[in-house]
């Protein structure tokens, strides 16, 4: 006689993740038979909205795709348009765009490390609980987040829906008094950033080595942000215009977000992938701090993502200081002329590679648009990681422990599942057919 056992668990809310999603997990005889991460993203709708829009309308509209990383969307669209219109911006504009992007990395990473991820590794259910024992660390996270938002506002006029960027540069040069104030705060934050790296490296992180392919931009001399070729740890080295020849987006029946694969396999984008592929592009001082902290990159432990984020916070602060100390700009933008063509660019959003493609008519209006955000690209990798990680963790663990570990794995990617509500419902189904 066969005993048939089935257990279902419903987790009504997953906090500390941006967006709405659901995880379906079926376990049979101690093996995962089905694992589906269902998430819902809106960028597909935006692509249609962009049709018929002028280039500068596009820049303001794409900022509204994501409230957490509007700069990434704006910068990718700007670079795509400028590539199509053959616009060469001044070194000052290029430098200021890098600072703009530093602000976004800083605020996004500070939020994720301190408020979303750290409670997992310190044994707290929430940041509120954590704040009772780690008030100074939480305050540090909030200060760094605000500093990042203020860097965005320096160029974007505001950190929510920034409106300062345009094709050819910015609508205005930043105010000198604000720059002075920000420089002072950035210099004060530099030591905190070093402490943060050591703090994240001291956390008890799971040792979960996995075989995955990292993908990111690579620039000839800089740590990648706004420019570069697309490379992978498996030897890919292509121009951003060749993206579609190697990466495939497809609709998985269980998700409204597209999945993406590289040569038919999942891949990782984001801070860990960036550092894995660009450690030699980090400043020597930062490499030394990371070596002192005892973390070796490239790393195949996904949980080292939190350390990678801390390192990029240090980098963002360091770069912003150096670039803001440079010669002030006189012209906020350069002139440009629209023309028909295909506009393609990729930049490094806080969560990883962001790729845009626009077909433009002779007046620069969008005929069609395609946007591939990082969370879509990571979705197949998250599912692969969940399967491997839960099996390593032990499927015989109780359901609560499995759920918590699964949530921790998902949060580790900092998925930006931008949507109106933010719930993840997880159903675990255990199906045992053991003979008795």
């Amino acid at each position: 006689m066969n005993e048939h056992r089935e257990i279902s668990i419903h987790v009504p809310v997953l906090t500390r993740v941006e967006g709405e999603g659901a995880l379906d997990l079926n376990i049979r005889d101690g093996h995962i038979t089905e694992l589906k991460l269902r998430i819902f993203e809106p960028p597909r709708l935006f692509e249609k909205f962009l049709e018929g829009r002028q280039p500068d309308e596009v820049i303001d509209m794409v900022a509204r795709i994501c409230g957490i990383c509007p700069v990434a969307y704006q910068m990718t669209a700007v670079h795509a348009m400028e590539q199509a219109f053959e616009v060469n911006v001044t070194p000052w504009i290029r430098a200021m765009r890098r600072i703009f992007y530093c602000g976004e990395w800083l605020q996004s990473h500070a939020l994720h490390i301190h408020l979303l991820a750290a409670p997992d590794f310190l044994g707290f259910n929430s940041v509120t609980e954590m704040a009772k024992d780690y008030a100074a660390e939480v305050r540090r996270g909030l200060r760094l987040q605000t500093l990042g938002n203020d860097l965005i506002a320096l160029f974007g006029a505001r950190s929510v829906h920034p409106v300062g960027a345009c094709v050819g540069g910015f609508y205005h040069t930043p105010d000198n008094n604000t720059i002075r104030d920000l420089l002072l705060r950035l210099k004060q934050a530099k030591e905190e950033a070093s402490d943060l790296i050591h703090w994240t490296a001291s956390l008890t992180l799971p040792d979960d080595q996995q075989d995955f392919v990292s993908v990111s931009l690579r620039h000839p001399s800089e740590y990648p942000m706004n420019e570069g070729r697309i490379i992978s740890s498996a030897g890919l080295d292509i121009d951003t215009t060749e993206y579609s020849q190697h990466f495939t987006e497809f609709q998985a029946p269980h998700s409204t977000a597209l999945h993406a694969t590289l040569h038919n396999k999942p891949y990782l984008v984001g801070p860990l992938a960036r550092i894995n592929l660009n450690f030699d592009r980090l400043p020597t001082k930062l490499q030394t701090i990371l070596n002192e902290a005892g973390i070796i990159f490239p790393s195949q432990n996904m949980f080292h993502s939190i350390i990678a984020r801390a390192a990029e916070i240090w980098l963002a602060i360091d770069e912003a200081i150096q670039l803001l100390q440079g010669k002030p700009g006189i012209e906020a933008s350069v002139a440009w002329q629209a023309k028909a063509g295909i506009a393609i660019a990729a930049t490094e959003a806080p969560r990883g590679l962001l790729w845009h493609r626009y077909e433009l008519d002779e007046s620069g209006k969008v005929v069609n648009a395609r946007i591939v955000p990082p969370t879509s690209q990571n979705q197949a990798r998250i599912e692969e990681d969940l399967k491997l990680s839960l099996e390593t963790f032990g499927l015989d663990q109780n359901d609560d422990a499995l759920r918590l570990h699964g949530e921790c794995v998902i949060r580790n990617y900092d998925p930006c599942i931008s949507c109106a509500t933010h719930f993840l419902r997880m159903a675990v189904k255990r199906d045992s057919a053991d003979a008795t």
Partner: protein
């Protein structure tokens, strides 16, 4: 910005999507309407920003969308206890508003006075601007009261 001392700060919280935009839109409309008043207006993407936004002000007013069975556009004044008593999280932005308030309290950063104004809506409403226009008189009235009660 690193927030300067203000007597009254009004914070619109939300996201880019659906009715979640109500907090931002209400804040933007009120700012245009109440230019003459000494109010510091702020938009907030995630409640994680609230502990910093609550610093350096005597009174903070938080405006957010409230999924409710109340008439669309009705403004409800809620206490932290009201929020805690709701059966499902009142707001969802990575960490919830309730959690952000608790965090602010744990860090000792709650202002002397704070008010939470929820604009009643349902999840599927499409006429976002009309909802805000309906709510605007009540919101303005609440802010005027806060101004007159300010120390």
């Amino acid at each position: 910005m690193q927030h300067e001392q203000h007597r009254l700060r009004v914070i619109g919280i939300g996201s880019n999507h659906g009715v979640d935009q109500l907090g931002w839109l209400a804040c933007e409309m009120l700012q245009k309407k109440m230019k003459a008043y000494p109010i510091d207006w702020q938009l907030c993407r995630t409640p994680a920003q609230l502990p910093e936004l609550f610093c350096n002000c005597d009174t903070a007013v938080l405006i957010d969308a409230l999924i409710s069975n109340k008439p669309i556009g009705q403004v409800l004044t809620l206490s932290k206890d009201d929020l805690l008593s709701l059966s499902s999280p009142w707001s969802s932005h990575g960490i919830s508003v309730v959690e952000a308030l608790k965090l602010t309290e744990a860090l000792g950063q709650l202002p002397a006075n704070y008010i939470i104004l929820g604009i009643a809506t349902s999840i599927s409403e499409m006429e976002i601007e009309n909802i805000v226009l309906t709510a605007l008189p009540q919101l303005e009235q609440s802010l005027m009261k806060s101004i007159s009660n300010s120390p």
